[in-house]
Amino acid sequence: MGDKTDVMQGTLALMVLKTLDVLGPLHGWGIARRIEQISGDLLSLNQGTLYPLLLRLEQEGSIDSDWGASENNRRARYYRLTKTGRKQLQSEVREWQQTTEIMARFLAARAEEL
């Protein structure tokens, strides 16, 4: 696991929101799985930590949750994006793109340009 990256503070929330935006209502395991898949197993995620985050997002009103039946007919809690959550996602995505762009330019700069 040595070359796996820890999740950066604050980015996990954005990943969760994006996942729900793309896949629609999903249970916790599904979200965790999806994040790992997309990150190409580069991320080391303690899956348990996802749940306090989900709770926080729910309390903030970005997502909503309800019990439902899972694929193998078990009870699972499904999370879905709310209207507020969608707005939040858009603004956070914008911020993130800005940040990465700045970082990218910064890292690409050569000595003479600085």
Binding site: G28, A32, Q47, Y51, E60, N72, A76
Partner: protein, 922 residues
Amino acid sequence: MKSLRRVGQRMWNFALRRDGGQRLREEMQEHIAMETAHNQRLGMSPAEARRQALIKWGGASAVREQYHAEKGLPLMETMLQDVRYAVRMLRKSPVFTSVAVLTLALGIGANAAIFTLINALMLKNLPVADPRTLVRLGNNNDCCVGIGSHDNGEMSFFSTDTYEYLRKNLPEFEELAAMQAGFAYRPVVVRMDGSSEAPRSVMGEFVSGNYFRTFGLNASVGRVLEDRDDAAGAPFTAVMSYETWKTRFHGDPGVVGSTLRVNTRPVTVVGIAPKGFYGDRLLPSPPEYYLPVESMPQIANVPYVHHTPVQWLYMIGRVRPGVQLGSLQEKVNTLLRHQLAETGRFSGKSGAERLRQLHIVLTPGGGGIQAMQEGYDRQLRMLMTASGLVLLIACANLANLLLVRGMSRKAEMNVRTALGARRGRIVRQLLTESILLASAGGLAGLAIAYAGTQMLLAMAFPGAESVPINPSPSPAVLAFALGLSLLTGVLFGAAPAWIASKATPADALRGGTRSVAGGATMLQSSLVVLQAGLSLVLLVCAGLFGKSLSKLERIDLKLDPVNRYIVHINPQTAGYTQRQVGDLYRAIEDRFHALPGVEKVGITSYTPMEDNNNGWSVQIQGKKEQEHNAIASYLKVNAEYFDSVGTRVVRGRGILPSDTVSAPHVAVVNQEFVRQLFKPGENPIGQHFGGDLKSAGDWEIVGVVENTAYQSATWNEHMMYFVPTLQRPLSAEPDSIDRDENMYAGAIVLKTSRPVPDMEESARKTLAGINPNLSVVRFQTFSAQIADQFSQARLLSGLTSLFGGLALLLATLGLYGVTAYGVARRTAEIGIRMALGAARSKVTFMVMRGAMVQALAGLALGIPTTLLCMKYLSSQLYDIKSVEGSVMAGAVALLALAAAVAGLIPARRAASINPVQALRVE
């Protein structure tokens, strides 16, 4: 917005005690099952699949903790936890808890009681509309009827002419009201028209027609006084106080419109004043009736209401918004001087000089006329200081208790630290405990404050009809008491908490209770020294006030109060004119002599040791005019008066029945009169005197009486002269009798051969038998009247003793606590000493010495402080200018005794330590 919603959700969860543990558990189960299934699909064995799933989940308890933290209010929860734990810990040591709570309750209770009184007396505004825009014209308590100003030219009460002139010429005032300055000294007699009930002598205040309008008040029933009531020739009207309406007339609305007899004149009640309104000043007996100024000449039969320079009114006005008080004051004074100049009283150069000095100081009027406040101001401040010291001692005590407790719980703290408790958490826990204690103390203190205020009121105003002060603490007092207790808790809880939290776990576990180092810390000892010093200060104060009181009470008043009764009357309120009083006095003498047991019936303008005086200037015939006005108290008395109060005639004769209207005009003077106005050895008998050079032949001196105490016990060296009841100055115009208020007697003094318990009732009946309108204004035994003069001194002495005793008790407790704690900590050490052969007496001595050294240090602190305080105290004391040796010695002895008791108990315990047991303790 986002965080707001989150906080709301959290509080909701907290309130519902929903921590979501169940939900998380279910989700976790579900998650693990799915992950396990996924792992199995990847080809793992079921056991391995589940193991990997659990690893992937991460630290379960960390997640739970995080989840929980998201969900509720962790701070609140730990706080509740702390409180629950603190309650349990406090319950476990009931002695500590009750001593601490009691200590605080006494300290806070005393302070809150005094503060309630100060709040009511000093800080409270009148219950009127917008008290901030009210301004009083004047700044002192000058009263009640007279001409003149303070020596510095300040004027605070005014003639009707001045009032009317200012009211007309000061548009800066929305309203300018005037009110009778001395109504408390001139009760009115009220009787319901057609009722058989005995007339009552009550407080009635004459006020201008715009009085209620100025205060922005409306009647609770009917209407308030208006300008048309206060006009010449208007029918007599009055407004009744709400309190009187409720208590005397049971709130009957039919009272409005009915007719009362006020001093026998028919007066229509037009309305009831608003609830809670107690007039324009705080007095033990507020006015029951408000009457227009214009009706005063007829109702009160006084000559000074119109067209005289006599001052008798206070003024309070409501200024218009935006008026500058500085320029207003200048204008007021310009107008005042202009008006006074027109009276012609200030002619000549010296007159102009005097007029230039006269001025009015504008003061805030929202608190009304500060009549009572001035008298109580210094004393309340002093009591506040004393109770503040008690609180300080109480706080020191609490700090010490907490400190001792903190030390003895060191082991507990160490264990908790070793188990991973953070220092902040431990400090918070200890702080919670002390705040909890302080709150409990604060609450108990409020109960004490309530009872204490009632006691204070009863002590301060004995026999008052209805003091308009509510003894229940106001929100301000509540805030004050609770704030004080919390501050105490935090402040004095912090130090012990900090010290206790400095525990090093390793030390504790090594068995740190075995200690040879001194028992108590420096901090503890200095707290005890402080307590001892402060309580010495309070004890000396108490001693000085007690001494002052006993000196006051032991003054030889040259009076005989045994079997004497004083019946205050006011013939003028019963409708008698000055020309009719002669018959009345004869009737009084005859009827009262007919009562069983009555030996002497004295009739007088006023009596010794009541708050009354009537001073007139005197000039001896044939002597040159005095540089300073010689003022002598003037009384009209009948033949039996001197015997009735026990005043002895030392030269010549007293007043005789033969000194009738037509007999030669005679006067009896007191020894001081002779001392001041005659040369030593000169015979005053046969000499004449009067008010000035022109009237110097008015009275012939026929006798000299002893100096007796009038007005107050401490008023020495005042001249007095007594003339027969019906005689008037020789030079007075015969017609002026109709304006001569001195013709009215103020009191009957009865001397009986034995105690007559129902004298009040017989006096009432006897007077009513002479004239149904003749009522008893006030009835008291002579002893009670004299005792009343000392009530303030007694109150001060009582309260300072109370505070002194409290302080001593607390200091003793503190000293005991520290010494006992020291002994407990040194049990092992003492055991070793004794095992090595130390005698029990030596151990006792060692412990006692510690306690005594602290007490001595307290003395070293307290004695100089006391000497410093003396400067502020001496004005409150009678005939005591420096700390008396006996008082100081007494206080020191008391403190030493207390220290000995506080030291002896732990010392004996130390001496009874069994060495073997002591060493086995650990």
